[in-house]
């Protein structure tokens, strides 16, 4: 058996092992050294940063946590960075979720960012978690006409009609900026289709989504989406922009996406090498068969 035949018959488990090493070794290296690669923001990520930065202090923003722990590896870093920038800009943050576990993800992000680093922010006045609401697109249609009807109480059971942060809010159009972190259905696509399109330009939206969703969302940028964070790469770019703007010592929890970029690099390099090797073997095999 020559080399080409042996490689063609290679057990695929060696490929799995190589991929495991390509991802695991950089994680260990970054975990020990603390070093990360520099990020150059793309226009889509920079647009997300600018959309939040352009909001005047005290503006109410709506943050929809439409994901669950299965996608947290990709989406949690961008949710953390979004809340970090909003809190830093002194915006009033209203969190909602259309995924059953999204309310818990919002609670966890609030605990990690707001309660830990912005203790002066008061719940109900500066931020609130309205929790999960069942109904998918139905909820989106209702918030277009009556926001508090869709979310009558917050996650603690307080009536939203009595919350100072929601005074003056009639519909979703009273939020100048909608930030959505989405892992699928219902998520960014539905927010664009049912809310942004129907809001007559009153609601500006930025989205952070998974890699699988990103190609479907890019056509909406920059018309219907003011900015987009595509997968962990978008999260890393946005994270670096937020950290640069805030300056000083950056807590490790705000560099989670940047830490995940080294495994990406080596994983992708291996993938490219395997595709090239696979094609080369295929053509060499075909040439050998012809001869």
């Amino acid at each position: 058996m020559n080399m080409v035949d042996r490689l063609n018959a290679l057990d695929r488990r060696w490929v799995f092992l190589l991929m495991g090493l390509a991802v695991a070794v950089p994680i260990l290296w970054i975990g020990i050294t603390g070093n990360t690669f520099p990020e150059t923001p793309t226009p889509a990520a920079a647009a997300v940063f600018k959309a939040v930065e352009d909001q005047p202090e005290g503006t109410r923003v709506l943050v929809a946590f439409d994901y669950d722990p299965a996608s947290a590896g990709e989406l949690q870093p961008m949710a953390t960075a979004l809340l970090h920038q909003c809190a830093q800009r002194k915006l009033k943050i209203v969190c909602i979720a259309l995924w059953p576990l999204g309310g818990n993800m919002a609670q966890q992000t609030i605990a990690e960012v707001i309660r830990a680093d912005y203790p002066a922010m008061r719940e109900g006045e500066d931020f609130v978690n309205l929790g999960y609401q069942a109904g998918n697109e139905g909820v989106m249609k209702v918030v277009l006409t009556d926001f508090k009807k869709a979310f009558p109480v917050d996650a603690r059971g307080q009536a939203t009609a009595d919350l100072p942060i929601l005074q003056g809010v009639q519909t979703v159009k009273d939020f100048p900026l909608l930030l959505n972190v989405s892992a699928g259905y219902p998520g960014s696509k539905e927010w664009v289709q049912y809310v942004v399109s129907a809001s007559e330009g009153k609601v500006k939206m930025v989205a952070g989504c998974t890699g699988v969703q990103s190609p479907q969302m890019y056509p909406y940028f920059p018309g219907q989406l003011a900015g987009i964070l595509g997968a962990i790469k978008g999260a890393a770019e946005y994270e670096s922009l937020v950290n640069q703007s805030i300056g000083g010592d950056v807590a490790p929890k705000y560099r989670e996406a940047q830490r995940r970029m080294a495994p990406q690099l080596f994983g992708h390099l291996l993938m490219v090498a395997l595709i090239v090797a696979g094609n080369t073997l295929f053509f060499m095999g075909r040439k050998g068969a012809r001869a």
Partner: protein
């Protein structure tokens, strides 16, 4: 003994040996610590948005509280080490056995799922069955407590739900109450398919769902995808970017113009590819071929994004194993 069985035994023994060694080196293996926070609340009158008095629960000192409970929040191992160094008998921060067992179960199930990459085995089957079972149960509980109880029973029997289940429920209006009777009837009709006779009754609520969904989707798709996307495509191909001196920055104008030209060519060629009423020969064939290239590039980009997503998830699981479970790395400085 087969080669596969031998490999499993060797892998298991090596993993166990490494775990034992890790357990006795440095800070040991993953543990979860918690600290107790006493919550003390009392109900107070407060002016609502319309000026009327509303009852609100407020945090108060323990002596004035009418409701008290203990919340256990996770503490960083570093906080525990420091507390023990100061006072070895302290009980403010303690080891949580339930959470530690949860952490080890999470690690076990992660490894069990990974083990499928070698071959199908009993640990993978156990993990798979657990995921399916837990997910089904979770969705059932969510469906019951977040949809059926507050939306259906909350509208039909609000007093009972407020008294027994959800004191914060906002009573439904007459219109919503009436619509929920319709929902209840449709729900019962849907379940009729389980009955031995009269299965056709379930077709009516299904028709209702299909009709409503189609109505909702058609409007939004036409508005946001067909119209808005068409408008976004019909932009002037040449985009002139003004320069600082009032003229035109030709270099800066080149890229948006090129991007618009690529979009225009891509839309036309991809549409021609899907034009099946004309034979794909000559100019039409060449245009369709370009369309195929555009589609292939799109699929390639989607594949690339999917790979990125999957590697990110793999990296997150490895981080969990190395950081939370094995305590090999400490990127968040929770232990040092």
């Amino acid at each position: 003994m087969s080669r596969q069985r031998l490999t499993w035994i060797v892998l298991g023994v090596v993993l166990l040996a490494l775990l034992v060694v890790r357990g006795f080196v440095g800070q040991g293996l993953g543990r979860v610590y918690v600290q107790a926070d006493q919550v003390s609340l009392a109900q107070m009158d407060e002016k609502g948005a319309d000026g009327s008095l509303v009852k609100v629960w407020k945090p108060v000192p323990a002596a004035q509280a009418t409701q008290q409970w203990t919340e256990w929040s996770q503490a960083a191992p570093k906080a525990y080490f420091e507390a023990v160094a100061k006072n070895p008998a302290q009980t403010d921060i303690t080891l949580s056995w339930p959470r530690t067992i949860g952490l080890w179960l999470a690690a076990f199930f992660t490894l069990a799922i990974f083990s499928f990459l070698y071959s199908d085995n009993v640990f993978y089957k156990l993990a798979e069955a657990t995921v399916v079972g837990v997910s089904a149960a979770y969705w059932m509980v969510i469906g019951f407590w977040d949809t059926i109880v507050p939306k259906l029973f909350g509208a039909l029997t609000p007093d009972m739900v407020i008294k027994w289940v959800q004191p914060s429920l906002q009573p439904a209006g007459a219109m919503q109450q009436a619509s929920m009777w319709l929902a209840l009837v449709l729900g019962v009709m849907m379940l009729w398919r389980l009955a031995p006779r009269g299965g056709w009754i379930a077709a009516w609520p299904l028709a209702f769902i299909v009709g409503v969904t189609a109505g909702l989707k058609i409007v939004s798709h036409v508005e946001s995808d067909l119209m808005a996307q068409s408008v976004a495509t019909m932009q002037p191909v040449v985009q002139l970017v003004p320069a600082a001196d009032g003229g035109t920055d030709w270099y800066a104008s080149l890229w948006p113009t090129l991007a618009n030209a690529l979009v225009l060519v891509g839309v036309i060629c991809a549409l021609v590819y899907f034009l099946f009423s004309v034979q794909h020969k000559g100019v039409v064939g060449a245009t369709a071929r370009v369309g195929v290239w555009y589609l292939m590039i799109t699929f390639g980009a989607s594949f690339g994004f999917t790979v990125m997503g999957r590697i990110a998830l793999l990296a997150a699981r490895f981080e969990f194993l190395f950081d939370d479970w094995l305590w090999l790395i400490d990127p968040n400085h929770l232990r040092s």
